[in-house]
């Protein structure tokens, strides 16, 4: 128990992750409840509340009370919990673990499964691109300005998966379940700096008995081929799916270019949990090793 409390407030920034988790939980409850209500009612509740009210006082008073409440919470929080201040900065002493600020811990967690240029640069860039293009690829006119799940099943499922699982949950994992050497520890478990964990010891081709490299260290051609076929074949699912659904109503509306972008981003997003599975369960390090990069 003491260990758990210690973990929560060391550093005290960790407390922010708890606030995040609790608020996300409350918000999800509120949102999904309203989705269910609206889907059951047929016409959304918001449509019945579209008569106008005066901003003064009905909105301004909420803003005022909201500001007071936030100020009160912030004051209590600031009195009770000090911001962290550790030893002076010392470039010659590396703490273990060294963690990024809590909101980047999802990205840091990805470093376990991908090389830094993918986890730290390419995937964050794709996240931003994916967010920016959402309004331009979601051609579904329904569900604009009210809670609904029935009318936007695909959009809401994908976004919730990305936001709740791959962003929020990985932040919680990175904050409370990662210790020295970035190994897994329960929050109530003491950090053992000498914990021994099986390293990711082989690459995907070796699962099939094909070496990644030859004896003199160059890339083994068959191993290269297996990796390439796996990666390209994975993205090929998107192409195959296009030819299956070419004549569907939604595909015509979306267009081949937009479909290509959505399929690529979707498959890349799902590649993260797949790679997590390969690493954690099968101990696979790389799927495809090339002389220039490895994925």
């Amino acid at each position: 128990m003491d260990q758990l409390l210690y973990r929560i407030v060391t550093p005290s920034d960790n407390f922010a992750t708890i606030v995040l988790f609790v608020l996300v939980f409350i918000c999800c409850y509120a949102a999904f409840k309203q989705m269910r209500e609206n889907d059951k009612r047929g016409t959304p509740r918001e449509a019945e509340q579209s008569d106008k009210v005066q901003t003064w006082p009905y909105l301004v008073r909420i803003e005022f009370l909201g500001a007071l409440a936030v100020m009160a919470i912030l004051t209590v929080w600031s009195v009770l919990l000090d911001a962290p201040l550790e030893e002076p900065a010392n470039p010659s002493v590396t703490p273990n673990p060294s963690k990024a600020p809590w909101y980047f811990l999802g990205l840091q967690e990805m470093l376990v499964y991908f090389d830094a240029w993918i986890a730290g640069v390419v995937l964050p860039t794709l996240i931003v691109i994916g967010l920016v293009i959402i309004p331009y690829i979601d051609f579904n006119p329904k569900g604009n300005g009210y809670y609904t799940f029935k009318e936007r099943k695909f959009a809401i499922t994908v976004f919730c998966f990305g936001f709740l699982i791959l962003w929020i949950l990985l932040i919680v994992l990175g904050t409370f379940f990662r210790g020295p050497g970035w190994h897994f520890f329960w929050p109530w478990q003491e950090w053992d700096p000498h914990k021994i964990v099986a390293m990711a010891s082989w690459n995907w081709p070796e699962v099939f008995g094909v070496p990644t490299r030859t004896i003199d260290g160059t890339i083994h051609p068959l191993g290269f081929l297996i990796g390439m076929v796996t990666v390209l074949g994975y993205y090929g699912i998107g192409v195959l799916y296009y030819f299956r659904k070419k004549n569907a109503e939604w595909m015509k509306k979306l267009g081949v270019v937009n479909y290509g972008i959505v399929a690529f981003l979707m498959l890349t997003m799902i590649a993260l949990p797949i790679k997590m599975f390969l690493r954690i369960v099968l101990n696979v390090h790389y799927v495809w090793v090339t002389p220039w990069f490895s994925v």
Partner: protein
Amino acid sequence: MLGNLMEKFRKSDVYKSIFRHDYKDTQRNRALQILDNVWLHLHPVRLPRHGVNLRYTWGMGGITFFLFIVLTITGVILMFYYRPAGEYAYDDMKYLMNDVPFGPLMRNMHRWAAHGMVITVMLHMFRVFLTGSYKPPRQFNWVIGVVLLLLTFLLSFTGYLLPWDQLALWAVTVGTNMAAATPLLGHEGPFSEMLGVRMDNDVRFLLLGGTQVGPAALIRFYVLHCIFLPIVIAIFMAVHFWRVRKDGGISGPNQ
């Protein structure tokens, strides 16, 4: 007697030059209350009833903006006590936490409000997605919102270094090491040798002003945190709020 004086004052040219209308509770005055006030006129005069329903809006965008104001005020106060130089920064933090009256309160409030802002801006995005509020005609305001999200992360991240303690140094080291892995532009990224990119001329070097997180990085992050990013985010916020109005106010089912 006092009431009489008040009454006289209310009818004077001085009073009328400041307050353009009286306070009687009429439809017209309620409208003028919003229209005649520079701070409140960002609002529409009237709005749909679901727009004041917290179950619908969660109030997260408004709280984010309020936290930004709190951060500006506490941040300016902290700047009086803090020097962004390797020799001074950590000692100034100790001074602030131990000797400055209300120093810990100001610093804690700045820290927790900053974390709070990151949380609320993410939840705001979540709500806007779930209500489909990025759909026409609000597509571009969603894009501005994504920029604001990134700027919030950057503000928080640049501020993270300033205490100049072990936590700050190594968190920023972990974060900026990512920049070294940028393809082509970072010295550890793929294909970077092709451009002649080295440790001392890559994108991480540009960010840190050195090959590791040192005093040069401290002053860079300080200037970005206190001057550059707040100005940029204020500009984008202005556009964001303006577009909310121009795109038809709070989203809703009837449009």
